[in-house]
């Protein structure tokens, strides 16, 4: 069977990114117009479960390479296998969800196949048999439509930009176990650092973020043994982020931060939202003590609903906010956490 659209199912040690299923949803739509089926590509070791999920989310078939050499993600290995599968399938389009793994993967496959790659796509249409992909440039200040003169057109799709198809349990489809010779590469995996706990920012439906303002609670007295001013500030900020975390906990939200908070050492870089951090697009984004600098807005301006809590009524974040509270976050966040807890019956 020829599959005109291939979808790469991205996962970390068997845990899939939800955006992979969104990509299958897009593929199904494109497939209807282009004709030809949707093939999901699953690479890894002991990942048959993912193949099943891909079928349930709408793939017509799965190309499964289950091999010990694919246990760890290594770009060169994965790119080579992916290029081969996409070529053999005769795909016109290759879709990948946008993650920390897939931009490079998409780029490498595009080199292997001498074709165009369009990253972080937020909209796709088919016109006269040709694919048109829309994506943000200049950190979302502009948008561009891109088409590709060669095949396949390689696209990575921004998470949460497309609806996730409802899985249909028991849906049937072919899982083809493909034997691909995996070439040895020079890169070896030494291990994994501790993975950050909690909800991943880019997948989150709700995000609660803190900025420089979270360190700004003069009422808090640091313990006597902390005498250095910078450490006192960090201590105060950590107390502030505890409030942010409690609120996030009630909402099942991920915790975000401004660059100012990250640079001051209040919270790790992995939590940074913005132009030089993560680009997110949740249903609800609550900004606590964040002014709304253009580089921060670049990372969260497409959030569906923005709530801002800031002492300064002139803070630019309010221009984007649907709901705003002018006030001290240390006064507002604790009762807000309780109130939401009550409303959500937790």
């Amino acid at each position: 069977m020829s599959s005109k659209v291939c979808v790469y199912v991205d996962h970390f040690q068997g845990r899939s990114s939800p955006a992979s299923w969104e990509a299958i949803g897009v593929a199904t739509k494109i497939g209807e117009t282009l004709g030809g089926g949707v093939a999901a590509i699953v690479l890894g070791e002991k990942v048959e479960e993912l193949a099943k999920h891909a079928i349930e989310h709408g793939a017509d078939e799965v190309l499964l390479v289950d091999d010990a050499s694919l246990k760890d993600y290594i770009p060169e290995t994965h790119a080579s296998v992916l290029s081969k599968l996409v070529t053999d399938a005769g795909a016109e389009v290759l879709l990948l969800p946008t993650t920390d793994r897939t931009r490079e993967l998409a780029g490498m496959v595009a080199v292997d196949l001498e074709t165009g790659v369009t990253p972080d796509v937020v909209d796709v249409e088919v016109k006269d048999g040709a694919l048109i992909a829309t994506r943000p440039i200049y950190a979302g200040k502009l948008m561009t439509k891109e088409t590709c003169t060669t095949k396949p057109h390689v696209l990575t799709l921004r998470g949460r930009a497309f609806p996730k198809p409802e899985p249909e349990t028991g849906r049937s489809g072919n899982v083809n176990k493909v034997d691909v010779k995996v070439e040895a590469v020079t890169t070896e995996v030494l291990g994994y650092g501790e993975s950050e706990a909690g909800v991943t920012l880019s997948d989150a439906a709700t995000i609660v973020s803190g900025g420089r303002g979270v360190s700004n609670n003069p009422k808090l007295e640091p313990p006597a043994e902390i005498t250095v001013e910078q450490e006192q500030e960090i201590w105060r900020a950590q107390q502030g982020f505890e409030l942010v975390r409690s609120l996030a906990g009630v909402l099942g939200a991920a915790v975000g931060a401004s660059r100012a908070a990250v640079d001051a050492g209040y919270i790790p870089y992995i939590n940074q939202v913005g132009q030089t951090g993560k680009v997110v697009s949740p249903d609800l984004y609550i900004a606590c003590g964040i002014s709304g600098a253009i580089q921060h807005l670049a990372g969260m301006r497409t959030s569906k609903n923005i709530v801002a809590i800031n002492k300064d009524s002139e803070a630019p974040i309010f221009k984007l906010a649907r709901f705003g509270v002018v006030g001290d976050l240390f006064d507002i966040v604790p009762p807000l956490t309780s109130a939401l807890k009550e409303r959500l019956g937790k």
Partner: protein, 260 residues
């Protein structure tokens, strides 16, 4: 060590960017060294300072991109090269990667090539991977920490970002490394550095200079560039006598509007 760092010139991130008749404009906002590339330059310099050798900064761009290269020189790079040729005018990442890979090959005997995570104008974030692929070198991407660099053994070990996890990798040189902000704190150019850079003559390489007889056409076309629909929001300010009252009102509104 012989180190390369690839840098791009981009409009300042604070610029207001507009488009009219397909022409993008950033008004009189300054053009700067792509912010991500500052971290790449810094890491190249740190590697050189630890192990000796030299750093060459390469940029593909217009004549004006020499300013970005001068910034890299002022920070401490020994040499800079501008790739400029009409053949690269409508380049996509496929073409840019071809040119950069050809320039790195031309330089010869390179141990490491550093890149930023992403250019803040095109927001592509794939060029480093494509250059690595063209060179046949391993790519260590989104590197947050260099754990060990051993030019004698010809190895490098790093920690890379991988979603919510971190992966520790080791590979053989030569390699391509793309860096994220966490890796270091870029230095400010010294006064001496700025003076030296301002006097530097930056060589310009054409496609012939990097031995590219044929530059392929870009695979991508951009039929339309447009401003995103303006987000029309009227902020509803929640007020009350006490914090509790405000918090409860806000919670109620979020429930009423089905936000939660």
């Amino acid at each position: 060590m012989n180190i390369v760092v690839c840098v791009k010139q981009t409009p300042d991130t604070a610029a207001t960017v507009t488009v009219s008749d397909g022409e993008v404009s950033w008004g009189d906002a300054p053009l700067v060294l792509n912010p991500w590339d500052e971290y790449a330059v810094e890491q190249a310099l740190l590697s050189k300072e630890a192990h000796g050798g030299k750093v060459t900064a390469i940029s593909l761009g217009s004549e004006g991109a020499k300013d970005a290269l001068k910034q890299a020189l002022a920070m401490g790079c020994e040499e800079a090269i501008l790739i400029n040729d009409p053949a690269f005018e409508n380049a996509d990442s496929l073409v840019v990667s071809k040119a950069l890979a050809a320039a790195i090959t031309k330089l010869g005997e390179i141990d490491l090539a550093f890149f930023g995570r992403q250019a803040v104008d095109s927001d592509t974030g794939v060029t480093f991977a494509q250059v690595a692929r063209r060179l046949g070198w391993p790519a260590l991407s989104l590197v947050a920490k260099v754990e060990a660099l051993d030019p004698g053994a010809g190895t490098i070990a790093v920690e890379r970002m991988l979603g919510s996890a971190r992966q520790r990798l080791q590979t053989k040189l030569p390699a391509v490394v793309s860096v994220v902000k966490e890796i270091n704190e870029p230095r400010y150019p010294s006064f001496m550095g700025i003076r030296k850079a301002s006097k530097a003559e930056i060589p310009v390489w054409s496609k012939a200079d990097i031995d590219l007889a044929e530059v392929p056409e870009a695979a991508l076309r951009w039929p339309e560039i447009f401003a995103p629909p303006k987000i029309e929001t009227e902020c509803e300010f929640i007020e009350g006598e006490t914090a509790e009252e405000v918090a409860n009102k806000l919670a109620d509104r979020l429930v009423e509007e089905k936000v939660i």
